[in-house]
């Protein structure tokens, strides 16, 4: 696999992980996820769940648009 293809796979995995860890229905929970020995998230006070990277590096405010049928 070329370096570029490997980098693309890594980026796709990061995109997926961002969705699994930071988006979706939130109820309640408590756990620490470890990927490759690095703790990615810590969930404490029931509903606060965020990738550590996101806590360290605030992203630009996302924009969303919606179109109803």
């Amino acid at each position: 696999m070329s370096f570029s293809a490997a980098r693309d796979d890594e980026m796709s995995l990061l995109e997926l992980a961002d969705r699994l860890l930071n988006r979706g229905v939130v109820l309640t929970g408590e756990a620490t996820i470890s990927v490759a020995g690095v703790d990615l998230i810590y969930l404490g006070l029931n509903v606060v769940l965020s990738a550590v990277e996101n806590l360290k590096t605030p992203h630009a405010a996302p924009a969303s648009r919606r179109r109803d049928d």
Binding site: E15, L16, A17, R23, V25, V26, D69
Partner: protein
Amino acid sequence: MRLLLHAVATTEPVAQPPVGLRGQPLIVVRHAEMSAYASRFDTPVEHFGRADLLAHHDIVSGLSAQIDVLPARFPTWLADEDALRGELERRQADFGAALERVRGRVEIAVTVLWADEPDDQRPPEAPTPGRKYLLGRQQAFTGSDKRRARGRQLADELEYLVGDDLVEIWHQVCPSTTVALSSAVLVPRASAEDVKTRIPRAEQDVRILINGPWPPYTFADVV
């Protein structure tokens, strides 16, 4: 006993239910017009790894291929079936509205990567250290402005290409130095593959990664 939630869904039957995480039983808890799918553990798991994350994705994707689902943020634990049923009851209206939002729809992830390093990574030429520093700062500001403008242009192009199939779209412009645009596009399930063919894999200054169709993670933001 603990339950690891995977998704909240409609009550249509699932012909091929996936196996739970780490081979545990996948249980279904129903309330009113909703179902919740969870893996049942005798003891809670304290540490998850990459394989667990991907296994959760596989379970949600397996369900999403058969019924409309709201993926749960990973990991979400509940004490038992009564606790899960209680959440379904308490959040019934929110979940119902969210399920309606994603009904028959899937998410496509579009990630646009810069083909080259940013201009501000190349040190400017200058006769003195002070002047070189100031030129470097000026170059960084100008370069990042240009890149943000280009990112916004790419977002507009993406919306144009998705066209009438666009239901909702979510953008992050220049979320990191290597990424020009990260977008989540909600489209009808039947159009997903066609939409993917309309998006180019590269332009002069960027490479474009397209993933999915995925369950509608970005559009299930019921908190």
